[in-house]
């Protein structure tokens, strides 16, 4: 059985937001919508202050609360763990958005552009009316994964089959792969390092693992 997860090495992330920009470019998300975000957290008080950059987005949970509450069955989980939204079924009730503890879902009511008025050429090229009035979120670049697998590639190892945020990371902080495969890059990283998952206490089983120290 395959289960795709992301590993974010907090020791390496420098908060450059390249992953955010890459995601927005690849997926054509409108202003204000960031499927991949990097939080800038300040911890402590002067003089003992730390700064930590934390990539977040849809956690593709093992038990996704968004899927349980979705009245239209638009939100589903594939056998490989990726949580998807069928834009043709979604009614835009945003119940999933309030059910998600990771604030990963967005609903855009009308088309808007980076600059008031006319869209840029890139916005025209990426225009998708199906995404208006419905919930959207990170897909783990599922189209790239599926196309890559069809071409005999391995997600997480071959860039063509790997989410663009992972490919774009300048610090090697983001990793992607099959956690059920003991030989995968993500399994190795999780075996060699201490990690946590966000809001573990809520029982959602998020699929983004954060590395914070060597084991």
């Amino acid at each position: 059985m395959t289960r795709y997860v992301m590993v974010a090495d907090l020791r390496r992330c420098v908060g450059c937001q390249t992953c955010t920009a890459a995601c927005r470019t690849a997926n054509g998300t409108p202003p204000g919508v960031q499927w991949r975000r990097v939080l800038d957290m300040e911890i402590g008080t002067y003089p003992d202050v730390r700064r930590t950059f934390v990539p977040v987005g849809c956690m593709h949970c093992e038990d996704p609360p968004c899927m349980q509450v979705c009245p239209s069955t638009a939100t589903r989980k594939r056998d490989d763990g990726i949580v998807t939204i069928d834009y043709d079924l979604c009614i835009g009730c945003a119940y999933c958005a309030v059910a998600c503890p990771y604030q990963a879902r967005y609903k855009v009511e009308r088309e808007n552009y980076a600059y008031d008025g006319e869209p840029m050429a890139s916005e025209v090229a990426k225009r998708d009316p199906d995404r208006i009035g419905v919930s959207t979120k990170c897909t783990f670049c599922v189209d790239r994964i599926d196309a890559g697998i069809d071409n005999g590639l391995t997600p997480g190892e071959d860039p063509e089959a790997t989410p663009v945020c992972v490919n774009s990371c300048i610090a090697g902080a983001l990793h992607f792969g099959d956690v059920e495969d003991p030989g995968s890059n993500v399994s190795r990283l999780l075996a060699e390092n201490h990690f946590f998952r966000m809001h573990e206490e809520l029982g959602t089983g998020p699929s983004i693992y954060y590395l914070w120290d060597r084991a």
Binding site: D9, L10, R11, Q34, R37, L39, D40, M41, I43, G44, R50, T52, V54, V56, P65, M67, Q68, V69, C70, P71, S72, T73, A74, L89, C90, I91, G92, C93, A94, Y95, A97, V98, A99, C100, P101, Y102, Q103, K107, E109, I132, G133, V134, H194, F196, M198, H199, E200, L202, T204, Y210, L211, W212, D213, R214
Partner: protein, 286 residues
């Protein structure tokens, strides 16, 4: 700049609150109409029709909020796990049965409709409980509180209407008296359960002021008005206070108390020679 600490959600606004207000009031009113039907009270059919209209208004409000309103029929697709789907199915059964009961004046049909209204109300309460992203909603105490509030709203509204149009029956005054006290107790339980680390710091002020107002103006004052033999105007005021406090509670619950979970890390990472440090949960008490 991305908000890291919990912030009030903006996905559901006053229209969603309106659905909870109208759903609770209409369901409670239908339950009272069923009681009135069995006791041979006049005009129970009117109360049943009014209840259906109020529930319908709430559903219309939420229809205005959804992003793809002409796909509304898809709401029925997931009764297996979604309380919103179950709410829709309950409503779909409730309207024809309730309308038939009101037209024929059958206490049996009105009672079946009232039972469906209780299912509808329960679904609304469970909808909030299932929203894991909102700490003020996901606590289990919200379920009995929303159910009790719905019954209190409906009872209070019928009491006010009856008192203003010729006198409220004793059984209704006593029922509303019991409901306002029950709702007050459940509100205190809800506040007690959300103390400490179960609610973001920023939400505490809204919770305290809302709970104080609901308990004082929505439970103690109506109870004081209803516990003694009082004139019709006082009965009507008691009923309106009982209902109004419930409406205020639902509005605050959806629009002001609905802070998101925010973000947290369990550990800050090692950096060069700097060892790993403590985590952070901005916006929450340590």
């Amino acid at each position: 700049m991305i908000a890291i600490a919990p912030a009030v959600q903006h996905n559901w606004d006053w229209r969603a609150a309106g659905n909870f207000v109208c759903g609770g009031t209409g369901s409670g009113l239908l339950a009272m109409a069923a009681g009135a039907a069995w006791l041979g009270e006049p005009l129970f059919e009117v109360a049943a029709i009014a209840a259906l209209a109020i529930i319908g208004l709430g559903l219309f409000l939420v229809w205005l909020e959804i992003g793809r309103p002409w796909r509304f029929a898809n709401v029925f697709r997931n009764p297996a796990t979604s309380w919103m789907s179950r709410e829709a199915w309950a409503a779909a059964l409730l309207f024809p049965v309730g309308a038939l009961g009101a037209v024929t004046g059958s206490p049996v049909l009105i009672s079946i409709a009232a039972a469906l209204a209780m299912v509808f109300l329960f679904c609304q309460a469970r909808m909030l409980h299932a929203a894991k992203g909102i700490p003020a909603w996901r606590d289990a105490a919200v379920v009995p509180l929303v159910n009790a509030t719905g019954l209190t709203e409906g009872g209070g509204l019928l009491l006010a209407a009856a008192a203003m149009t010729g006198g409220a029956p004793n059984w209704l005054s006593i029922t509303v008296l019991i409901l306002v006290i029950w709702r007050g107790v459940l509100m205190l339980v809800y506040v007690y359960r959300l103390r400490g680390r179960k609610l973001p710091i920023a939400a505490r002020g809204s919770l305290a002021s809302m709970a104080l107002l609901v308990v004082m103006a929505g439970s103690l004052l109506p109870a004081a008005l209803l516990i003694t033999t009082v004139p019709d105007w006082a009965q009507a005021l008691g009923g309106l206070l009982a209902a109004g406090a419930g409406w205020y509670f639902k509005y605050v619950l959806v629009c002001r108390l609905a802070f998101t979970q925010g973000f947290a890390i369990e550990h800050s990472p090692t950096r060069g020679r700097s060892p790993a440090g403590p985590g952070a949960r901005p916006g929450w008490a340590r």
